[in-house]
């Protein structure tokens, strides 16, 4: 039984193997592989470190990437890249930053209940934007992981952002996939998470493995 659960956890992990790494190297070059390896290392961090520490590391890791709009980057108006695609191409828009952070934190053991993908309006840019919010408790004031302001800040400090609405990352990702016409079957929620993880491991909409 225990073995079975362990196996299940392994199967749901985002950790990379040599096959993916060499594929990335072949397709995007050694720098991409290096970034992916770093991401893998990040996900292998000791889980006992504080959540604050985890937030810090993940936020810093991804905020090193460039901000590129979807049109420029993917030749599509609205493309949600997987973390691997994001890392491999070393760039993405606000959704890509928020999602990559979200999934990495989930991988590091941060509860889904504490993480929200929040649609906001960036006042200065006068643009729709997305950030990852961390709620220590449901009622507490969130910490925002943003790529515009590369530091983690409490929400009240971010006068430049107006919150619109927030979702749990898993459901949002699934809805997005559905909108893109991908098959999202399985009504049980556990198997859906597996499904999301599988996609996360993919590149260009394809699942490697």
């Amino acid at each position: 039984m225990l073995q079975c659960i362990t196996f299940l956890v392994v199967a749901e992990t985002l950790l990379l193997d040599e096959k993916i790494l060499s594929f990335i190297e072949e397709k995007y070059g050694p720098a991409a592989r290096f970034r992916a390896e770093n991401w893998d290392d990040l996900m292998r961090l000791d889980r006992s470190i504080s959540e604050k520490e985890k937030l810090q590391r993940v936020n810093d890791f991804f905020n090193k990437s460039r901000f590129v709009s979807d049109i420029e980057h993917w030749k599509k108006k609205d493309y949600w890249a997987t973390p691997l695609e994001f890392l491999s191409t070393n760039g993405g828009d606000c959704e890509d930053f928020a999602l990559a952070k979200y999934f990495t934190l989930r991988e590091l053991g941060v509860s889904d209940k504490k993480l929200r993908l929040t649609y906001v309006k960036a006042i200065r840019l006068n643009q729709a934007h997305m950030v990852l919010s961390y709620y220590k408790t449901p009622a507490s004031e969130p910490l925002l992981l943003d790529n515009l302001d590369k530091e983690i800040r409490r929400a009240s400090k971010r006068r430049d952002l107006v919150p619109v609405y927030s979702f749990n990352g898993n459901g949002l990702w699934l809805a997005k996939e559905r909108e893109q016409g991908r098959l999202v079957g399985k009504s049980s929620r556990i198997s859906r998470w597996t499904d999301v993880i599988k996609r996360m491991q993919g590149l260009n909409g394809k699942v490697i493995k």
Binding site: S133, A139, Y165, S166, F167, G171, A175, S187
Partner: protein, 650 residues
């Protein structure tokens, strides 16, 4: 169970299975589709509610939030919408009953369709201020499912009806050849060799029909071959190859039969004509010319004698010809002898013979009961008298005094017979016919006729039937006999069947046939208890008449049989169309059967011909055990004769 019913059942079972299979797949699909639909329905509602409630949450405007929830809940199709604060306190909750109209309870209990739920956050600024929980109502899904099922049921029922209708039609079309096959098989068993011309397309059926046709052909051929070889054998052993007349063997048998069978024969004349010095002619003119002469003689004799009924013309040997003329008197016989002599003399004019000294003839009268030797030696005496008298003459050897005087004269005889018929003084006797292998098993009894003579003596049929025939009263006799026989059977039920002989004269008498039909129709006896017999010579002379009788008998369930089977030189083809229930082989071939292998072979062949058509064969004139054993070995079915049972009053 008929094939059609089985196919019908199969279609119903298959349709039901198909329906169930499709239903399961369809229900499963519909169910997961509806689940997905309900889920996004719940999620969309939760999201939009969460989004639109967020500003009012920030203002703590509960009243507004409640009415918004109400609006959504009332307009939509939800089981539950609950509004909570972030600490879990319920602000507002709406629930609807789970009951679902128009959907049977078994469906709900059978298919579990848990309506999905969804939850969304209500924000207050950056803060999560509450949650909204939405659960769709499963009723809509159940109703959709139920509609799907009922729709499918209708479609399948309709489809099944169409299928059944088509199957009905197709099966009938397919099985039509089998119907015809059945009829053909029955026809073959009744010896009608019809072939099926309409060959079906279905391969198995086509093979079957072809095989059946082949078999029909074979059976027909077997019969034809058998009867052909029997006919051939008969002509070899009973016919004179040169003239086509009967030969000595047949003559001997016929004469013996005439002298011994009192049921049919009374007496008559034997006329022998000798060509003078045939050996000399052979030497002078050569064998070919002599043969031509003999053929010419045969032709002349045949043409003269054919004018009289019941004659047997044979070439005995060399230039000796014999004519048995039944039921004639001295005067007529002598007349025929003289006429033949004078006609044969003309052969000299035709240069077929080189001398005017052509022939001599002798006639003698015989009566039933005399011996063959007796009759032949009397004829010899007559011939010697002719020789003494001079060439080309005919002498008569008169019948012995006692027998001649016993019988009244012709006029008197006719009077007696006429009176007897008028007063219905005909008495029925019967002779039993038993199974050849078990003489205790009676097949039927043949009705024989007796007439009380002037001195209260009994006359056998042979004594008065020819007279009745001459004066045209055969039909009356037949009617009397049939009437009496039927009456007899009515009196004593559960009897052994009777066979009744029908005269040739009756058959082309329309009144008789009408009378017979009425009698048969209204008879209150079991039809199987009566069979009608006609003589083979009647079949030859009046085939249509016999066929009418046979059909009439059959139609009412009576039996039909042919007497004197194989006596004449006719082909056996008539058996196929008449299909008698049994045939009787007359005494002609029986007298010598225990010694003569040719007779045995011939009777055996007759049996096979009849048996190939499923016709029972009965041998008449069986007098002793030797005959019986030979006949048993030859495969005869029934036996009749003094050796089996003597005629007795019915």
């Amino acid at each position: 169970m008929t094939l059609y019913k089985q196919i019908e059942l199969m279609i119903v079972v298959l349709s039901i299975l198909m329906f169930l299979g499709t239903a399961v797949i369809n229900i499963h699909d519909t169910r997961s589709y509806l689940a997905t639909q309900l889920e996004s329905h719940a999620q969309d509602t939760a999201t939009s509610l969460g989004l639109s409630l967020s500003p009012h949450m920030a203002n703590n405007d509960d009243a507004l939030m409640v009415s918004m929830v109400d609006a959504i809940f009332d307009r939509g199709y939800y089981e539950n919408i609950t509004l909570r604060k972030i600490n879990g306190d319920v602000i507002w909750s709406r629930k609807s009953g789970k009951n679902i109209d128009e959907v049977p309870a078994w469906l709900i209990s059978w298919i579990n369709l848990e309506a999905p739920d969804a939850e969304s956050i209500i924000m207050s600024g950056w803060q999560q201020a509450g949650t909204v929980y939405v659960k769709s109502h499963a009723g809509f899904a159940y109703r959709t499912l139920w509609d799907t099922i009922t729709n499918m049921l209708w479609w399948f029922s309709g489809l099944m009806l169409v299928l059944l209708f088509m199957a009905n039609f197709a099966v009938r079309l397919l099985l039509r050849p089998l119907d015809r096959l059945e009829k053909q098989a029955l026809a073959v068993s009744e010896q009608r060799f019809d072939k099926i011309t309409e060959v079906p397309h279905t391969r198995e059926l086509r093979n079957l029909i072809t095989a059946m046709n082949y078999m029909t052909d074979k059976v027909k051929k077997m019969f034809d071959e058998q009867s052909e070889s029997t006919e051939k054998f008969r002509s070899l052993s009973f016919q004179d190859s040169l003239t086509g007349l009967h030969n000595r063997r047949y003559f001997d048998a016929s004469l013996r039969n005439c002298l011994s069978d009192a049921e049919e024969h009374r007496g008559g004349a034997l006329l022998i004509i000798q060509i003078v010095d045939l050996q000399g002619i052979n030497q002078r003119l050569g064998f070919d010319a002599a043969d031509e002469l003999l053929k010419a003689v045969a032709k002349i004799i045949t043409s003269s004698a054919e004018l009289m009924d019941n004659t047997v013309i044979s070439r005995l040997s060399g230039g000796d010809f014999a004519i048995i003329i039944e039921h004639v008197n001295e005067e007529e016989a002598g007349q025929l002898g003289n006429e033949l002599c004078s006609r044969l003399t003309r052969l000299y004019n035709e240069e077929l013979i080189d001398t005017k000294n052509v022939c001599q003839a002798g006639v003698t009268m015989y009566t039933t009961g005399m011996t063959c030797g007796d009759v032949l030696s009397r004829t010899d005496n007559a011939l010697q008298a002719s020789r003494a008298q001079g060439v080309n003459t005919c002498s008569l050897y008169s019948a012995p005094e006692q027998s001649g005087n016993d019988m009244p004269g012709r006029q008197a005889l006719q009077g007696i017979v006429r009176d007897a018929i008028a007063s219905r003084k005909i008495i029925l006797h019967a002779q039993a016919v038993s199974s050849a292998n078990n003489q205790n098993n009676l097949l039927h009894r043949e009705v024989l006729l007796r007439l009380t003579g002037p001195d209260n003596e009994l006359w056998t049929a042979g004594m008065f039937l020819p007279i009745a025939e001459q004066i045209g009263l055969s039909r009356e006799i037949d009617q009397i006999v049939i009437g009496k026989a039927f009456a007899k059977l009515t009196q004593s039920a559960g009897n052994i069947p009777l066979s009744i002989n029908i005269s040739a004269a009756s058959l082309h008498d329309a009144d008789f046939l009408t009378w017979l039909e009425l009698t048969l129709k209204h008879a209150d006896i079991a039809a199987s208890l009566i069979a009608f017999e006609v003589s083979e010579s009647t079949v030859v002379r009046d085939f249509e008449g016999v066929q009418r009788l046979a059909n009439l008998a059959r139609q009412h369930g009576y039996g039909f049989a042919v007497d004197h089977f194989g006596r004449g030189m006719t082909s056996f083809g008539y058996l196929k169309s008449l299909k008698p229930d049994y045939v009787k082989i007359g005494g002609l071939y029986m007298t010598d059967i225990s010694n003569n292998q040719d007779d045995q072979f011939f009777v055996g062949s007759l049996c096979k011909v009849a048996h190939s058509l499923d016709i029972t064969v009965i041998a008449e004139a069986v007098e002793n055990n030797d005959q019986l054993q030979v006949l048993q070995a030859l495969g005869i079915d029934g036996v009749q004769g003094f050796g089996i049972a003597r005629p007795a009053p019915l």
